[in-house]
C-alpha cells in the first residue's frame, strides 16, 4: 500500500518537474515566459498523425520509443523523495546506473528502426557519446558510494550529514553534472538530436511517438538532476523545511541549471571530446576516488 502511494507520488513529481523543465526550456527558447507552450505542443502531438517511413522496423521502434521514459522512471525508483525511495535497494547506485544505460539501447533502436539517414547518424552519435561519458560517470557514482561505504542511496545521503559530497568531492560532482547532460542528450551534449542532422534520432517521429520521446527526454533530464541531490547534495538535509521539500528545492535548482546550460553552451562534438574524457576526465575522477579512499580509510 505504502509503496503504491510512493510510486504514484514519484510519477506525479516526475511529471510535474519534467513539464516544468519543458516550460523553462520553451521560455528560454522563445525569449519570454512561455509556460503553456509544452502543453500546447503535447496537445498538438496527440492529435497529429503517426509518420510512416519506408520499410521501418516497427517493433524495434516501439521498444525504443517506449523504453526511453520507462528507463527514466525505473532509474528514479531508487531516489529518496524525502526520507524514503519507492525501492530502497541495497545496491541502488548500481540500479540507477543500469537503468540509465538503457538509454543507449532506446536511442540506437529509434535511430535504426525508422530507416532514415539522420536518425541513424544520431543513434550512432549517441553510442560514441556513451563511450565518452559512461566511464567517468561510473567513477563519479563510485566516488559517492565509496565516500559512504555503501551502494544504498539512503546510506549515501546519511553519510553527508556533516558535509555534502559536492563540497569535498568537487571533481566527481562536476563529472556527474557533465554526464547528467550527456545521458539526457541535453544542451552541449545534444549531438544525437542535434540541429545539424535535422533533429537526429527523433527526426522521423511524429504524433504520439514524438510526444513520448520528448516526455521521456525531459523525464530523463529530471531524473539525472534528481539523482545529483542524494548522491552529492545531501539529499533532504537542510534547516527548517522537511526533507521532501529540500529534495524538491535542490532538484529544481540542478534541473534549472542544466536546462539553462543547454541554451548557454554550444554542442560538444565527440570527435573532439573523446580524447578529453579519456585523457582528462577519467584520470581526474580516478584521482578523486583515490583521495576519497584515503579520506575514508
Amino acid at each position: 500500500m505504502g509503496e503504491t502511494v510512493a510510486a504514484v507520488v514519484l510519477l506525479a513529481a516526475l511529471a510535474v518537474l519534467a513539464a516544468g523543465a519543458a516550460a523553462f526550456d520553451a521560455s528560454l527558447a522563445a525569449g519570454r515566459v512561455a509556460i503553456g507552450d509544452p502543453l500546447r505542443e503535447a496537445a498538438r502531438l496527440l492529435v497529429t498523425q503517426r509518420r510512416r517511413t519506408l520499410l521501418p522496423d516497427a517493433p524495434l521502434r516501439r521498444i525504443g520509443v517506449s523504453g526511453l521514459p520507462l528507463v527514466a522512471v525505473l532509474a528514479a525508483a531508487v531516489l529518496p523523495m524525502g526520507e524514503h525511495a519507492v525501492a530502497d535497494l541495497p545496491v541502488g547506485v548500481v540500479w540507477f546506473n543500469g537503468m540509465e544505460v538503457g538509454v543507449w539501447g532506446a536511442l540506437w533502436l529509434i535511430g535504426w528502426s525508422v530507416n532514415s539517414v539522420y536518425p541513424l547518424v544520431g543513434g550512432y552519435r549517441f553510442l560514441a557519446q556513451g563511450l565518452a561519458y559512461e566511464l567517468p560517470h561510473m567513477f563519479a557514482l563510485i566516488s559517492a558510494a565509496l565516500g559512504a561505504g555503501s551502494l544504498r542511496v539512503a546510506d549515501v545521503v546519511a553519510a553527508q550529514r556533516g558535509l555534502w559530497f559536492a563540497v569535498w568531492m568537487p571533481v566527481a560532482f562536476a563529472v556527474y553534472l557533465i554526464s547528467a547532460l550527456a545521458m539526457a542528450f541535453w544542451g552541449p551534449m545534444n549531438q544525437a538530436v542535434g540541429p545539424d542532422v535535422a533533429g537526429g534520432v527523433p527526426a522521423e517521429l511524429s504524433g504520439p511517438d514524438r510526444l513520448v520521446f520528448q516526455a521521456g527526454r525531459y523525464t530523463l533530464l529530471t531524473v539525472a538532476s534528481a539523482a545529483a541531490v542524494p548522491l552529492f547534495l545531501g539529499g533532504g538535509a537542510g534547516p527548517a523545511l522537511p526533507p521532501w521539500s529540500w529534495t524538491l528545492v535542490k532538484t529544481v535548482a540542478v534541473l534549472a541549471l542544466l536546462v539553462w546550460a543547454g541554451h548557454r553552451l554550444p554542442t560538444i562534438r565527440m570527435d573532439r571530446f573523446m580524447a578529453a574524457t579519456w585523457l582528462v576526465l577519467i584520470p581526474a575522477v580516478l584521482l578523486q576516488i583515490l583521495v576519497v579512499g584515503i579520506v575514508v580509510l
Binding site: 520553451a26 528560454l28 527558447a29 522563445a30 525569449g31 519570454r32 512561455a34 503553456g36 507552450d37 500546447r40 505542443e41 496537445a43 498538438r44 496527440l46 492529435v47 497529429t48 498523425q49 503517426r50 509518420r51 510512416r52 517511413t53 519506408l54 520499410l55 525508422v114 530507416n115 532514415s116 539517414v117 539522420y118 536518425p119 541513424l120 547518424v121 550512432y124 552519435r125 552541449p188 545534444n190 549531438q191 542535434g194 540541429p195 545539424d196 542532422v197 535535422a198 533533429g199 527523433p202 527526426a203 522521423e204 517521429l205 511524429s206 504524433g207 514524438r210 543547454g262 541554451h263 548557454r264 553552451l265 554550444p266 554542442t267 560538444i268 562534438r269 570527435d271 573532439r272
Partner: protein, 407 residues
C-alpha cells in the same frame, strides 16, 4: 464533447513552422523568420515535427519537387503558407494568422487527413537507407520488392574507406530542405557512416536554369551596391546596415548549426534590429555584449578550430575573408559586423564594391561553391554542416550555368 477538436484548436496557436526558402527570396525569409520569432514559435527541424510549411519565394524545378515531397510528409493537422518574394511584413503576419485558423479548423483538417493518405513512403533512386524527406525525386511509388531493391530502394554499395575496409556507401543529398542551410543549395554526398567520401554541389530552385536569369531575380544582400551602380543615391550607412545584417544572418546560422541556440537567437534578433532601422547606440550596445560572449567562448573555439581550412587558394578567386578555418571565418564575421555597425550613421554616398561576401561584381559565392566539395570530402557530417555554415554562400549571387562543382 469533441476532445480532439478542442485539442486541435488549443494547439493551433503554437504551430511548429518548417521554413523553406527558394533563391531570390531572402527578403521575405527574413520577414517570416522575424515574425515567427516575435510570436515565439519554435521552428521544426524536420517535416515529421512540423505543422506549418512556410515556403518563401517561388520554388522551381528540383526545389518545387522537394517542397511537394516535404508537404506530403508532414503529418496532419498541417497548413501550407506560400509567401511570394514581394510580401510586406504585414502580409506575412496575415498569412501566418490565416494558417493558424486553418490549423484550428478541425473539420477541414480531418477531411485533409482522410482525403490524402499521408506519408505513404515512396521508393527513391539511390536513397540507400533513408535520406527520406530531403530527397526531391518523385516516382517509383509503392512497395515492389524486386531483387536487390527492397521497397524500390537500391541497397547500399560498397567502397574502400580510409583504413582499407570495404564499407557501405550511401548517396545522401544534403538540402535543399534542412534547417540553417543556404537557400537552394544541394550537396549530393556519398557517405560512409557519417563521413563524406564524395561531394557534388547542385542548385535546386531554378537559379541554374533559364528561370534564374529572369528579371526580378533579386540579390537581397547586394542590393545597396547594385542600386548605387544603377545610379540611385545610396549612403554608406545604408550599405553598412545591409552588411551587418548579412554577417549576423550568417553568424546566426553558424551558431545554430553549432548547437548554440541562445546565441543564434540573439544574432537573429540583432539582425532584425539592424535591418529594421534600429538606432545605432542600442544596436551597438547589444552587439558588443553578444560579440563578447561568442568571442570568449572557449567551447566554441575548441569545436570550430581546424575545420574546413582554406589556406592558399592559388588561382581561385575565393574572397580573402574565407581563408583560414571555420573559427577564423567566425572571427572575421564578428569583426566585420563591428566595423559595419561603426559606420551605420555615415551619410556619405556609397562608392565601393565591397558587399558582405566580397566584391559584388565578382559574384564571390560562385568561388565559395567551387571550393566547397574539396572541403567537404573527408569531413564528418557535423563538420561538413559547420563548414557550409561558415562559408554561407549566397545562391542569389550565382549566375546560371556556373554551378556544378565536384569533389
Amino acid at each position: 464533447m469533441d476532445v480532439s477538436g478542442r485539442l486541435l484548436r488549443y494547439a493551433a496557436g503554437r504551430p511548429r513552422p518548417l521554413v523553406v526558402t527558394a533563391p531570390h527570396a531572402t527578403g521575405v525569409r527574413l520577414l517570416a523568420e522575424a515574425e515567427i520569432g516575435r510570436r515565439g514559435w519554435r521552428p521544426a527541424e524536420a517535416p515529421a515535427g512540423a505543422s506549418l510549411l512556410v515556403v518563401c519565394g517561388i520554388p522551381e524545378d528540383a526545389l518545387a519537387r522537394a517542397v511537394r515531397t516535404v508537404w506530403h510528409q508532414i503529418a496532419a493537422p498541417k497548413a501550407f503558407v506560400p509567401l511570394s518574394p514581394d510580401r510586406t511584413a504585414e502580409a506575412v503576419a496575415a498569412e501566418l494568422d490565416a494558417a493558424v485558423s486553418r490549423l484550428a479548423d478541425a473539420r477541414a483538417q480531418r477531411e485533409e487527413a482522410v482525403r490524402v493518405p499521408y506519408g505513404e513512403p515512396r521508393g527513391r533512386d539511390g536513397g540507400g537507407r533513408g535520406g527520406a524527406e530531403h530527397h526531391g525525386d518523385e516516382g517509383h511509388g509503392g512497395h515492389e520488392h524486386d531483387m536487390g531493391r527492397p521497397g524500390g530502394v537500391r541497397m547500399a554499395e560498397r567502397g574502400p574507406d580510409r583504413d582499407g575496409l570495404a564499407l557501405d556507401r550511401l548517396h545522401v543529398p544534403l538540402g535543399p530542405v534542412l534547417p540553417y542551410w543556404p537557400a537552394g543549395l544541394v550537396v549530393e554526398t556519398t557517405l560512409q557512416g557519417d563521413v563524406i567520401q564524395e561531394a557534388e554541389v547542385r542548385i535546386a530552385g531554378g537559379a541554374a536554369g533559364a528561370h534564374g536569369a529572369r528579371a526580378g531575380a533579386t540579390r537581397f544582400w547586394d542590393e545597396p551596391w547594385l542600386a548605387a551602380r544603377a545610379g540611385w543615391p545610396v549612403t554608406r550607412g545604408a550599405a553598412a546596415r545591409r552588411t551587418a545584417g548579412a554577417q549576423l544572418d550568417s553568424l546566426a546560422r553558424l551558431l545554430a548549426t553549432a548547437g548554440w541556440a541562445g546565441a543564434a537567437a540573439e544574432a537573429r534578433r540583432l539582425r532584425d534590429r539592424v535591418l529594421g532601422e534600429g538606432p545605432r547606440e542600442e544596436v551597438v550596445r547589444r552587439y558588443d555584449r553578444f560579440a563578447r560572449r561568442v568571442g570568449r567562448s572557449r567551447l566554441l573555439r575548441w569545436m570550430l578550430h581546424d575545420l574546413g581550412a582554406i589556406d592558399a587558394p592559388g588561382g581561385t578567386d575565393v574572397p580573402g575573408w574565407a581563408r583560414g578555418d571555420v573559427l577564423d571565418r567566425t572571427r572575421h564575421r564578428l569583426a566585420g559586423t563591428a566595423a559595419a555597425l561603426a559606420v551605420l550613421d555615415d551619410r556619405s554616398p556609397l562608392d565601393d564594391e565591397e558587399g558582405p561576401r566580397g566584391p559584388v561584381g565578382g559574384h564571390p559565392s560562385e568561388a565559395l561553391l567551387a571550393v566547397l566539395p574539396g572541403l567537404l570530402t573527408g569531413a564528418e557530417l557535423a563538420a561538413a554542416r559547420l563548414i557550409v555554415a561558415s562559408l554561407d554562400p549566397d545562391l542569389d549571387q550565382v549566375r546560371p550555368g556556373r554551378v556544378t562543382a565536384h569533389g
